[in-house]
């Protein structure tokens, strides 16, 4: 086993430039694909590549990125989650509903409250997965239905077209303009959330635990991680990020509807998987996910600009996602011999 790993390392170190470019989770390849797409656009429709285009991509990718962060944690730990959209819409809608009913207003605390609600809802998943050792996908399928059902039955099912004025003002606050597109202030908290998650994953023992549990639960247990405790942390934190994402969605779209978000899970899952997190677990990074989201929203927001008939949109988006996932799956097959946890060990 050890000999194998050393052989593999030797093989990679023989062409260090290439390996470094490729990145640990194929981030380099992904960046290459994105550049290639931009190049194609430059040839086909040069007038489409404007600063406004960049602004639109940022705007449309923000919610996906915010949703992707919590999911990334879960996928690295070898799990799968489909309840995060329900948690997000519940947290965002319930917060606005509460503010409207009580007549209170604010700019920052609604985000924190939504995150707290998300954290509480994430505890449902935590209990099912960490305590009852339920299959993560099955558990989250169940919680998705329960959370959404509870939202519609007890919190509300009406479309709130107007947000409280202070909260609404966040949605119209621009930090700078990219061409014709305003860049919303919400970019800042989302970027901070990305940095925070990256630090948690790379610099804390909990983060190591997330990768270890995803690589192999039994090994993680033997090296001293309390697996159930790590999983509880993962699902609480994922719920927190989902709740925050729900508020980002509400603020950016300037309305609250209980029927939003649920249904876009696959888009987010695709972005995270393309970004190098594999459903087998143990791999993935925040910057990979950012690139994955970038690729997905780049494709989704360029087809009208390229003059491609809308009848082709779904096909093209599907193809690009397939290529992205295939690249990752191929490298995964190659990397199957190298346990993730050993890559960091200096010989």
């Amino acid at each position: 086993m050890t000999a194998d790993v050393h052989a593999e390392r030797a093989a990679t170190s023989r062409r260090p430039g290439l390996a470094a470019l490729r990145g640990r989770n194929n981030e380099g390849v992904l960046a290459g694909v994105i550049l290639l797409l931009l190049l194609v656009m430059l040839v086909v429709e040069p007038s489409a590549l404007t600063w406004g285009f960049a602004g639109d991509i940022i705007r449309s990718g923000l919610v996906t990125l915010a949703l992707a962060l919590g999911l990334l944690l879960i996928i690295i730990s070898g799990g799968m989650d489909v309840s995060f959209t329900a948690i997000a819409v519940f947290s965002g809608y319930a917060t606005v509903r509460l503010m409207t009913d009580l007549g209170i207003d604010g700019r920052v605390w609604p985000f924190l409250l939504a995150a707290a609600i998300g954290c509480a809802l994430g505890s449902l998943n935590a209990v099912l997965v960490a305590r009852y050792r339920m299959e993560t996908l099955i558990a989250s399928l169940g919680t998705q239905v329960i959370i959404r059902g509870f939202l519609l039955a007890f919190v509300g099912s009406t479309y709130l077209a107007t947000l409280p004025p202070q909260l609404d003002s966040v949605g119209t606050t621009t930090i700078f303009r990219l061409g014709s597109s305003p860049v919303n202030i919400v970019v800042v908290p989302v970027a901070l959330a990305c940095v925070a998650l990256a630090l948690i994953l790379r610099r804390t023992m909990f983060g190591r635990g997330v990768y270890a549990v995803g690589g192999d639960k039994e090994s993680a247990r033997r090296v001293g991680f309390h697996v159930a405790r790590v999983q509880t942390g993962i699902y609480l934190l994922a719920g927190l990020f989902a709740g925050f994402a729900g508020m980002v969605h509400v603020v950016l779209s300037r309305h609250a509807s209980p029927f939003d978000l649920v249904g876009m899970e696959l888009n987010v899952i695709a972005a995270v998987v393309i970004g190098g997190a594999l459903d087998r677990g143990g791999r993935g990074s925040v910057h990979g996910t950012v690139l994955g989201v970038l690729l997905v929203s780049l494709v989704q927001n360029s087809l009208v600009r390229l003059g491609i008939s809308s009848y082709w949109h779904v096909l093209v988006i599907g193809l690009v996602i397939l290529v992205g996932v295939a690249i990752q799956a191929r490298s995964n097959a190659r990397g199957a011999k190298r346990p993730r946890i050993l890559e960091e060990v200096t010989p």
Binding site: A48, T50, G52, F53, D56, R59, S60, V63, A120, S123, L124, A126, V127, L128, R131, V145, I146, R148, G149, F150, L152, A153, S157, T158, Y159, A161, T162, S180, S181, P182, H249, S253, R254, H255, S257, P258, F259, D260, G263, M264, Q300, N301, S302, V304, R305, G307, S309, S310, Y311, H313, V314
Partner: protein, 349 residues
């Protein structure tokens, strides 16, 4: 531990609520034997009709329920509205299966997917329940399918409104909820045809664009359209949130004054955009009236009468039904409504 208790609490609450509703409906079945036995006969005061809709809650079907209860009071019948907790055909089939056992006199159904309900609706009709559907073109196992209007005519009407706003010239884009929603695409085709016949200076910039029934997507597509076709002046929307997404994008781009937005929506969703002028006219059919028309049609059939071309259901917009010459169980009214900033308060849904 707390979390665990909360999970159990949620589950038990849900279970209790379910059990209670189930009991309620079952009771009504036993206390109203008249409704069970003579499906084709007398106007028993205890007749029960069940309205099965796509999704519980939501302004649209809440408004339909308002219409239901108005009708129930006037005609002293009992009307219950029910649905699954998400808009899936499986949930709807399960709900219908449970209802068949309770033998209501009639079912008024708004299917999530007409094809998938054929089998269960056939079973309902075989047991003598009258089945009326709405928004289910081409359904075969219904006594009648009632549409608020002919889809192409409605699309043409939207084009008339857009043309009036545009001053009969300019380019426009048509946003549909999905390229696979039949009605939306018929509206788009009807609008395009009307433009071709009557308004030679109005052109469509591209094929209908899908919003995936999401306001956010409608917003993003509008931004793309504005960047790609800077002189675009008209937008038509189909899903109820389309015009809201379009209107927001136009507001942010400062284009709300030199553009025209017309589309299917409700005042609850698009009301403040009508006020700001980002959206100009919204059109719809009133779900309350559609619900009442279904009930009226069911009562007519239960009284042993027939629906024909020209039948008057006594509901505004459904005073002279049209019958599809090719599909004999398909009837349509003339029941679209136009809502602007001035009259939007008359339509609380």
């Amino acid at each position: 531990m707390n979390a665990r208790r909360r999970a159990w609490l949620t589950a038990t609450t849900a279970a209790t609520a379910l059990a209670l509703t189930a009991c309620g409906t079952a009771d009504s079945g036993t206390t109203a034997p008249g409704a069970n036995d003579d499906g084709g006969g007398s106007d028993s005061g205890d007749r029960t009709i069940v309205n099965v809709v796509k999704l519980a809650g939501g302004d649209w079907f809440n408004r339909m329920e308002v219409g239901n209860q108005e009708y129930a009071q006037e005609h002293s019948i009992r009307v219950d509205q029910t649905a699954g907790d998400d808009a899936s055909e499986e949930k709807q089939i399960a709900v219908l299966n449970d209802l068949i056992a309770q033998r209501p006199a009639a079912l008024t159904v708004v299917p999530n997917s007409p094809e998938s309900l054929e089998a269960v609706l056939k079973r309902a009709r075989d047991t003598g329940i009258v089945v009326i559907t709405h928004e289910a073109p081409g359904i075969t196992n219904a006594d009648a399918n009632l549409e608020a209007f002919v889809n192409e005519d409605y699309g043409a009407h939207q084009m008339d409104l857009l043309a009036e706003c545009l001053g009969n010239e300019g380019s426009y884009a048509h946003v549909v909820g999905s390229l696979s929603v039949a009605s939306h695409n018929m509206w788009a085709a009807g609008a395009l045809e009307r433009a071709g016949e009557e308004y030679p200076d109005i052109t469509r910039v591209a094929d209908p664009i899908s919003s995936e029934e999401s306001q956010e997507t409608a917003y993003n597509r509008t931004r793309e359209l504005l960047a790609t076709y800077p002189d675009i002046r008209g937008f038509l929307g189909s899903a109820s949130t389309d015009v809201a997404g379009i209107g927001r994008a136009l507001e942010e781009a400062g284009r709300q004054d030199d553009t025209c937005v017309v589309g299917t929506s409700t005042p609850a969703i698009a009301g403040n955009l009508l006020e700001s002028g980002a959206v100009d006219v919204i059109t719809a059919w009133d779900p309350a009236l559609a619900g009442q028309a279904m009930l009226a049609a069911a009562e007519l059939l239960l009284a042993g009468e027939e629906l024909t071309d020209g039948t008057d259901l006594g509901i505004p917009g459904y005073e002279s039904l049209g019958q599809d010459p090719d599909v004999p169980n398909s009837f349509f009214g003339n029941a679209w409504i136009d809502m602007t900033n001035e009259n939007k308060d008359d339509y609380p849904f």
